[in-house]
Amino acid sequence: MKRAAVLVALLAAGAPGGVLAQDAPAPLDPAPIVGAPKGPPLAGAALDAATHEVAAVLRCPVCQGLSVADSPTDLARNMKRQVREMLAAGYDREQALAYFEASYGEFVRLQPPLRGVNWLVWAAPALGLLAGGFVVARALRRSAAPGEPRTVAAAPVDDPALEPYLLRVRELAYGWPGGRRPAPTADRQE
């Protein structure tokens, strides 16, 4: 408990690692893992907000898909307290996340960082949206093509026995001579 108090005091002072009069580095000091604090020490409402922000993107390791901010477990509470201490000591948000990543792996981040294969995770929704938009746009353009008669009307006749009747219907309905589409668009048959 005394040791914890010393650690808290050290963290609060923003002291770098290895200050304790020991040959070993200070127990569980984040500095050897994430380097010296990079940001300004936070306090008050800013500290509360930043703590919540980091805890919200930190996975509770003993839960199913819950963040440290949302989990009521002891482990999550302890992790949140450590986040708070680190931010109060001047470590920035990324350093706080990196500290937990060092022991739990990338798994502990609820938002995969933009590196390596993770790019796919971030890019896939945008690419999917683009591809979908392209398909929709093409379909819309096709259906709205001007001057194009109903495709059924120009479709070839399946049954040769019915052809004379169909051509007669088309002649009556569209006024096409002989039931065939007039020359200017005749080459655009499907």
Partner: protein, 175 residues
């Protein structure tokens, strides 16, 4: 027919990679590997249950070590308790064993030691700092350190005699 073939093609392009990932992942060990393996064991210095001077990573140097995270409320920890106490007694002087208590009280731990026996100290980690530094997901989880204090392996779940011997071998302990 032409359109159907195209839809089929697009569908194949979309689904085949997913199926491929699924097939590739079948039968693969999907447990999260500890990023600590191969690195220096995170430093700690903790008071043993029942009192005494703090024991820390500095005390583990020079000999292979077993760091076992456990709790009295954990049933698999009961299962492996005999394996660990026997192992620690047999390998006394050659391997250092320490337990680290995970989310449990000193009272529970001392009572457990009285009733079940103990051959190595269990250290108290009241605010869970050590458990977090070691990336503990649950108990029991056991780290094996070589004589230089480097983590050579992590085992999740209750240890059997054979598993203990196997993991200790990685840490440089010959039978």
């Amino acid at each position: 027919m032409k359109l159907n073939r195209r839809i089929l093609g697009v569908g194949a392009v979309l689904t085949l990679p997913l199926v491929g990932v699924l097939v590739a992942a079948l039968g693969r060990d999907l447990t999260v590997r500890s990023p600590l393996v191969g690195r220096a064991a995170p430093a700690f210095s903790l008071v043993p249950a029942g009192g005494g001077a703090p024991i820390g990573t500095a005390d583990l140097r020079g000999k292979p070590a077993v760091v076992n995270f456990w709790a009295t409320w954990c049933v698999p920890c009961y299962q492996e308790h005999g394996v660990l106490t026997r192992g620690a007694a047999e390998l006394r002087g050659r391997v250092t064993f320490v337990g680290v208590v995970y989310e449990d009280s000193e009272e529970n731990v001392t009572r457990f030691a009285r009733e079940q026996g103990a051959s190595y100290p269990s250290l108290l980690d009241p605010d869970g700092r050590t458990a977090i530094a070691y990336g503990i997901f649950g108990v029991p989880e056991t780290y094996f350190l070589d004589a230089n204090g480097t983590i050579v392996s992590k085992y999740v779940g209750p240890l059997s005699e054979a598993r203990l011997a196997f993991e200790l071998e990685k840490a440089g302990v010959r039978r």
